[in-house]
């Protein structure tokens, strides 16, 4: 009897041994909000919400599994994952399927995959591994190699074109390099060079990307075309007011004025129904999530885990900021979902891979120190 109870207790303890509860609770809270909002955005049918709940279940299992992998094990995935990811990106470049004018997908016969998604994890993993390996002998050339490791996939993704994902992948890689100690002087120099090169970059952008930037500056120039999304989303947010129109009462949402309302523009739905109060709560939850992530990074024992945790956490920030920024009309519309809120299994899995990695880093701390 006692043995059985003891075994069960030990088993249960073992099951949750690598779960970081603050992190789990925060993400569950955001996901609960997200699920409710998906329900509102797709009101009239429950398929989307149920399917998203299923996605969450799968993602949580993956998180649980990843959290149990020690960081050394994660390190060993760095090169293979990066190489596979890179090869797939090249394959997309060569044989990808064109959907809506963008070549982002690779057909596997039975399903389609989006290799750029892999890079969201593979990139920081690879760079963290790289800086960890050369920790003791870090030279300027290592930063140059790291920059190349970053730029090649970035360019391939941007070329598809998928500016949103390219920004997220590039951001994740940049955060690693930043945390690895990229000198301020270099960053200032790059910033200045970037500013100087902006007109050149402008010329390289696709027409639709330029249009998005132009309509961001003045959405009213194209109220029925590219500006429509921004205008309608802004109306949704503004009409929500301080306290919102109430759950399931958003007129912009339920009368189909908001585009992509359960995916990229879900924030407009949420904001219309919950108002400034709800927005404050959501931003607060994201701040907690990022804060917890940064705490884990600060406490991480190895260079690899520090860099990885820091980059993944800032990745969440980038997701959230770009999405809310674009929906509220202060950033151009790029295809970035709102983390843990937007409908979509792939993004959710990627996000929880990140959460799993953070948990692994946090819970394997002591073992490493020993």
């Amino acid at each position: 009897m006692i043995d059985v109870v003891g075994t069960l207790k030990r088993g249960a303890r073992e099951l949750i041994a690598h779960i970081d509860f603050p992190l789990l609770l925060i993400t569950l809270a955001i996901m609960a909000v997200g699920l409710a909002t998906v329900h509102s955005a797709t009101f009239g049918g429950n398929e989307r919400m149920l399917s998203q709940a299923g996605n969450m279940g799968v993602a949580l299992v993956i998180m649980w599994f990843v959290s149990r992998l020690p960081p050394q094990k994660l390190m060993s995935f760095a090169i293979p994952l990066y190489v596979v990811g890179l090869l797939l990106l090249v394959a997309v470049f060569l044989f990808g399927i064109k959907v809506n004018g963008a070549k982002r997908w690779l057909s596997l016969g039975f399903t389609r995959i989006q290799p750029s998604e892999i890079m969201k994890i593979a990139m920081p993993l690879m760079l963290a591994w790289y800086f960890h390996k050369y920790e003791a002998t870090l030279r300027a050339r290592h930063f140059i190699v790291a920059a190349l490791l970053l730029l090649v996939p970035f360019a391939l993704i941007a070329k598809q074109p998928d500016l949103g994902t390219a920004l997220l992948v590039g951001g994740a890689g940049f955060f690693v390099i930043f945390f690895a100690g990229l000198p301020w002087k270099v960053m200032l120099g790059l910033g200045a060079a970037g500013a100087a090169a902006a007109p050149l970059l402008w010329n390289m952008l696709h027409d639709y990307q330029r249009k998005r930037i132009m309509t961001l500056i003045d959405p009213t120039t194209d109220p029925l075309g590219a500006g429509y999304h921004i205008i309608q989303a802004t109306i949704a947010i503004g009409s929500g007011g301080p306290f919102g129109k109430g759950y399931l009462n958003g007129t912009q949402t339920h009368l189909e004025f908001i585009p992509e309302k359960h995916t990229d523009f879900i924030f407009a739905v949420y904001s219309e129904e919950w108002g400034l109060l709800g927005n404050g709560l959501l931003v607060f939850l994201y701040t907690l999530l990022i804060g917890r992530g940064l705490m884990i990074a600060a406490a991480a024992p190895t260079k690899f885990s520090r860099l990885l945790a820091g980059a993944i956490t800032l990745g969440f920030f980038t997701y959230a900021f770009i999405n809310m920024g674009m929906v509220s009309g202060i950033l151009p519309v790029v295809g970035v979902p709102l983390p843990f809120m937007s409908y979509g299994g792939t993004a959710l899995v990627t996000l929880f891979l990140g959460i799993g990695i953070l948990m692994s880093i946090q819970t394997h701390r002591m073992l490493v120190k020993k």
């Binding site: 920790e135 003791a136 002998t137 870090l138 030279r139 300027a140 955060f175 930043f178 945390f179 100690g181 000198p183 309608q232 802004t234 109306i235 949704a236 947010i237 503004g238 009409s239 929500g240 007011g241 301080p242 007129t251 912009q252 009368l255 189909e256 004025f257 904001s271 108002g275 400034l276 927005n279 404050g280 931003v283 994201y286 701040t287 990022i290 804060g291 940064l294 990074a297 600060a298 260079k303 520090r306 860099l307 820091g310 800032l314 920030f317 900021f321 809310m324 920024g325 509220s328 009309g329 202060i330």
Partner: protein
């Protein structure tokens, strides 16, 4: 960076950079929150309105246009509901094919296609445009069965305007037609845009135009929630329309009809007024037209015919035609002379048959003259010499002042058309008028010789029939003047509340009763022993009248022989009258274009009108021209 590896410094540097990153995160989220406060608190009202505008569409419900009835309740303009087959071009795809296919289901004539094309050129492309009007129930059913084949085509119930009496009174009633750009400007100037959403017809002339904003009513609307695709989801609110006000006229439709018949195929005008109120009993301009032709949009052929016909049926001669009054001017001249003391009734002149002024001789129509002529005789026998002298004695300023008070040479303000744009002013000659009328200095000067022929209603004198009728009515009413008007009262369609249009006189000329009486007796004499005797033979009532002839063609000294002149060049015949003379119930002015002498063609029409109005006597068709009157040299 350091080339020496120092793990502790490394960690510290990492943590410093984490701190920087946290700061960036907080700043960025702060920026977002700032944006949210801007949108959701500071700009909230603006965006709330935008969201409401997005969500709610107002579908106008056009009110029923007011009904127009005559003084006895006879309906002159009403609405009836009928089904129309309408196409929304933006939804219908290839229009030609659609119409061809429709023609297999429902009878569509070439004229329907023509009208559709014309309406389409005028319309905005999201409007639905009628291809067929007045569908029968069978046609509605036939189309309903085939409806699925015709996207963008639907049967709509619409209200149509109908003028049951057809051409009778069309110059008074006017007609409605589709709103054009010019009408839109009018609507905007009247700040009625909101009320005209969904309305596609508007008054174009006559009462329909003058009382447009009374007749139209208040447009109702339905608030409908719509989605981004513009589909109506549910009705939120319905504000029913308020029907336009009804017009109850002073006009007597039967009298109007009889008068029009009395004209036959002669061109001309008649205005009959109730002197005690200024209410118009009949307003005829002949020929007339059928206003029903305009309701669905007049066909180009019909329009061309009406517009280019030599008898000009579209011109409202009663208010737009300005004619010299001829001898009908004389009673007013005589009254003016009495009022300002230039003549007494018994003061007689000797008429040699002409009046010399300077080296010009003004001739009387009667060779050898009328002998000794007092005021009574001057009117009864229409003595020109009397009035040449009188005009010369009075001077143009006195004449102009007195005639101006009677409303001659001024718009009467009758309630027809938009503002007073439909009414002509005519010409009340005066030195001031000449100064404005002519540009060259030598033409601007008034010559006293010009005053002479003014006295017999010739010269620059030109008045509309309604002005003459109004002046006659004022005379009949002892100088108390009303604005001539067609609408007695405006009746609120909902409450039945009645609002009189013109209850108060606009002016009292303060005429001396004994002076008015002199004129009355003389005008009664006209019909008893003067130029109107033949026309009024056997009348059981006493009618005051005066004949008149307006020169169209200057004969320069030759004798006027009606038979020798082409009909278009014959003089215009005029007649003014009121009756019963002692207690006038009706005053009128008749003009017959190229009718010759007033006694010949105008007086017989007046007799018919008075006989019907006072006795209820029905005439049998058109008034006959009194050929004998042509020979009657008593006149002029």
């Amino acid at each position: 960076m350091s080339s020496f590896h120092n793990p502790d410094a490394d960690v510290n540097r990492f943590r410093f950079r984490l701190g920087i990153a946290s700061l960036v995160v907080l700043l960025a989220f702060g920026l977002l929150l700032g944006r949210f406060v801007w949108l959701q608190v500071l700009q909230h009202d603006f965006y709330r309105t935008r969201a409401e505008d997005n969500r709610i569409a107002l579908i106008p419900i056009v009110p029923n246009r007011g009904v127009i009835t005559d003084r006895n309740g006879v309906v002159l303009a009403r609405n009836y509901s009928a089904f129309t087959l309408e196409i929304t071009p933006s939804q219908a795809g290839n229009l030609e094919e659609t119409i061809d296919a429709l023609a297999e289901v429902i009878d569509i004539q070439p004229k329907d296609r023509k009208r559709f094309k014309r309406l389409m050129d005028e319309a905005k492309n999201f409007e639905s445009i009628p291809i067929r009007t007045r569908l029968t129930d069978a046609e509605v059913a036939q189309f309903a069965a085939q409806r699925y084949r015709f996207p963008g085509v639907e049967v709509k119930a619409r209200l149509f305007r109908q003028y049951p009496l057809g051409a009778v009174g069309s110059h008074a009633i006017g007609y409605i037609g589709r709103i054009t750009d010019r009408d839109l400007k009018w609507i905007e100037e009247s700040e009625q845009q909101a009320n005209y959403k969904g309305t596609d017809h508007i008054g174009k002339t006559g009462l329909e135009q003058h009382y447009e904003f009374e007749l139209h009513g208040q447009t109702g609307y339905e608030e409908v929630e719509i989605d981004a695709g513009g589909r109506a989801l549910r009705s939120l609110k319905r504000i029913p329309p308020v029907s336009g006000n009804n017009l109850q006229l002073t006009l007597d439709a039967r009298l109007q009809e009889i008068t029009e018949q009395a004209f036959g195929d002669r061109k001309g005008a008649l205005v009959a007024i109730d002197p005690a109120t200024g209410g118009i009993l009949a307003l005829v301009s002949n020929p007339t037209y059928d206003p029903n032709l305009f309701v669905d949009g007049i066909t180009p052929d019909n329009w061309k015919e009406l517009n280019e016909h030599p008898s000009k049926p579209m011109v409202n001669r009663a208010i737009n035609g300005a004619y010299p009054p001829g001898s009908t001017f004389k009673p007013f001249m005589a009254l003016a002379a009495l009022e300002i003391g230039k003549r007494t009734p018994n003061q007689a002149i000797s008429d040699p048959g002409y009046f010399n002024f300077g080296n010009h001789q003004f001739r009387d129509d009667k060779k050898g003259g009328h002998g000794s002529v007092d005021m009574y005789k001057s009117i009864v026998h229409s003595c020109d010499t009397y009035y040449y002298m009188l005009a010369n004695d009075m001077g143009i300023d006195n004449i102009a002042r007195f005639m101006g008070q009677l409303g001659l040479g001024q718009r009467t303000g009758v309630d027809l058309g938009k503002d007073d744009s439909g009414e002509s002013k005519g010409v009340l000659p005066s030195p001031e008028w000449k100064k404005q009328r002519f540009k060259k200095p030598e033409q601007q000067k008034w010559y006293s010789g010009e005053t002479i022929s003014i006295g017999i209603g010739q010269g620059y004198n030109a008045y509309t029939p309604i002005q003459l009728a109004s002046a006659t009515a004022t005379l009949a009413n002892n100088g108390v003047m009303f604005r001539p008007h067609l609408v007695n009262q405006i009746v609120d369609a909902r409450t039945g509340e009645k609002r009189p249009v013109e209850p108060q006189p606009i002016r009292d000329l303060k005429l001396k009763p004994q002076n008015v009486d002199v004129i009355r007796r003389a005008m009664v004499g006209v019909n008893k022993e003067g130029t109107g005797t033949r026309a009024f033979a056997g009348a059981p009532y006493e009618a005051a009248g005066k004949t008149g002839t307006a020169q169209v063609f200057s004969l320069k000294g030759a004798d006027y022989k009606a038979h020798a002149i082409k009909k278009e060049l014959r003089d215009h015949a005029l007649f003014i009258a009121y009756a019963p003379a002692d207690k006038p119930r009706i005053a009128l002015a008749v003009l017959v274009e190229n009718g010759g002498f007033g006694a010949q063609s105008a007086a017989p029409i007046a007799r018919m009108v008075l006989d019907y109005y006072l006795l209820g006597k029905l005439p049998g068709g058109a008034a006959k021209e009194d050929e004998a009157a042509v020979e009657d040299d008593n006149e002029e």
